[in-house]
Symmetry: none
DNA sequence: AATGAATGAGAGTTCATTCAT
DNA sequence: CATGAATGAACTCTCATTCAT
């Protein structure tokens, strides 16, 4: 799937898939720890379990690694989110359920989402657009769920709510140093859901 | 003020202040365009109007420039936000007014906020903590305003709302490519205020 | 024939011969286009129609390819020149005829001769000597023809004339960008023959 | 003069000139010994007496070094040849004198000319054209001298003679392993002049 | 106080060669 | 015999930082 975007000089497709998975696993950890720019290609190779020469058989440039990492993360996020959306029966599955599922997902993939969040901007132009499109797919999925549950709401409003929820989900990860000090995931979700549905006026 | 954090070999305090302002002005633009890592110290020197040698009379490392930039931005943000808060009379100035003022501020300082947003993580540990504290001051100010207007709300809830508002303000800048395509600033603020106060249930 | 100089791990002699011919054909084109140093072994393998692994069954090092190419070219040049010389009957075949035949040969093998000309120096010492000997054989053949036609001339003079003719033949190829703009092959040969025989004094 | 072609980040023009001269001196020797491709930039820096970092303050790429070397050689060659031509009084200075001067020049600059001869092709396209133009200037100078001495000769013939002389001069250097074994410079020149003027027919 | 030439560690990338299958 | 994945030494080039002037 990624092979369409990033060419490799290795012919064996299955092997490419396998090696790239190893690579992504290694790179995510490194990027999370030190950021993309401070991670060297040699470190990536080592963390992936192969030599620098082998690394470059599977990518063309260091930025390709970043792209593969970002792409893979959104692939996971969208995949799992799609399951939630598809399982939802319009009119029956509540907005609340979907939002809760999304927040749980963001909790599961915290590390990955932080990388995504902080490093996408380092991608070369074209690759960045591609990834931002995938991000947008994510937001669109949220919009769909929202419009099922709020049939009368104007699309502009739906869009803003979707963006809010999207960012609040990510916020749980990238502002963890403040949020996760004071709240459990469930508490955080409860608050956000309550705010979403009723605004500040209500408080329990 | 910054001189406390970043030593300079120049004695003349006023001069240090002046040169650093030039430096920050130049650096913000560059960081916005190409990011911290892809900006060289030579470019910063040039954009600041002095030589590389002179640049290093006023800082110790490249990261000092980033620190000065981040610090200066929060200085401005907090300064202006403080004015809003101080002008507000508890019980009279409404939550809505304060939030609107904050969103306008985020619109004014868009470029700067994006830099802040994307590059803080590149700061060395200690400097990062220092800047994150300033960020937290900002959030605390929002919390204060909120607790004035929502006297009965529990502090945890206040904190989450403050974080939400904080991030939604920044979102106007860093998700501009999607938001500013569909909404004027006023429309965006109207929606956010309405959502904040009443939740999704209401719509016009 | 080449197998004496460059060992191969393949036993089947005929196969070695065949594969090496494919290899030389591919390599000449590449060397002509981008030079020896900028051509990779992978490219040579591809142009030859087999894998990099197979390539290395028929040679030991990249320089072996260059050697085989150079050797093969001189083999052709000398072979064809020998036919001319052998066909010449001392005293009957004129100097002019032989020189004309040589220039035509240089025109036919232009591409190959340019490669020879530009890349021989990249050969390792021993291989270079071997090739330069073959080059010298070529010059010696010219000397023989010349001494038949100029029986009274001292050998030193013969040698210089042979070198001149040798280089003028190659010049038609490697200075083509200037010569072939102004002259057809026949015009060029006519001029050179006239100059050779009579010097500058005469002009038509 | 070269500064127009190859930008340097050093501002002091005189210094650039000086350092580049050191660089060229070092590089010529290395290129002569091992060729352009087998010489590393670190070796060039070392031979020039400065660090790798400093080297790159005066050039952009390794190929720039080659260009500067080639340019400088032709600068010298053309400069010195111009003196000969300018000193010649049309009608008085004989063809012979000019050709002799040229051969002596080629003897003096043997090493440099061999480098030129073998490495020009490694230059990037544009730089190559520029250097070939300078080479052509050299040939044109020879043509001028020739046309003064051979007023009745057709231009095509003049051009070929100039090319012959040009290449025969270089030949003294790049075929030294055979020519300089058998001839002193003066003997070589005597033969060439005699052949040029009278052709093969005459011999002393 | 200001300048800019000098430095060299270190980064990304290539590619000839090997060897298990 | 043929293949192509794996290797790592070696290369070019960058850039933060220093220091003599």
């Amino acid at each position: 799937m990624e092979s369409k975007q990033v060419p490799s000089s290795i012919k064996n497709r299955a092997l490419v898939e396998k090696r790239r998975e190893e690579m992504i696993r290694g790179a995510v950890t490194l990027f999370r720890e030190k950021g993309f720019h401070k991670t060297t290609t040699r470190e990536i190779a080592k963390a992936s379990g192969f030599s620098i020469g082998t690394l470059y058989e599977y990518i063309r440039t260091k930025e390709d690694v970043l792209f593969l990492v970002c792409d893979s993360i959104y692939e996971q996020v969208n995949e799992r989110m799609k399951q939630v959306v598809d399982a939802s029966i319009p009119g029956e599955t509540s907005l609340e359920e979907a939002v809760r599922a999304y927040f749980h997902l963001m909790d599961d993939l915290q590390e990955e989402v932080i990388v995504l969040y902080q490093e996408v901007k380092a991608l070369p132009k074209e690759a960045k657009s591609y990834i931002l499109e995938k991000e947008q797919e994510m937001v669109v999925m949220l919009e769909e769920v929202l419009s099922h549950s709020l049939p009368g709401a104007p699309p502009g409003r739906i869009s803003i709510i979707a963006n809010n929820v999207f960012v609040e989900g990510q916020m749980w990860g990238f502002r963890r140093w403040i949020l996760q000090r004071s709240f459990s995931l469930e508490e955080y979700i409860d608050h956000q859901v309550s705010l979403l549905l009723e605004g500040v006026s209500t408080h329990r």
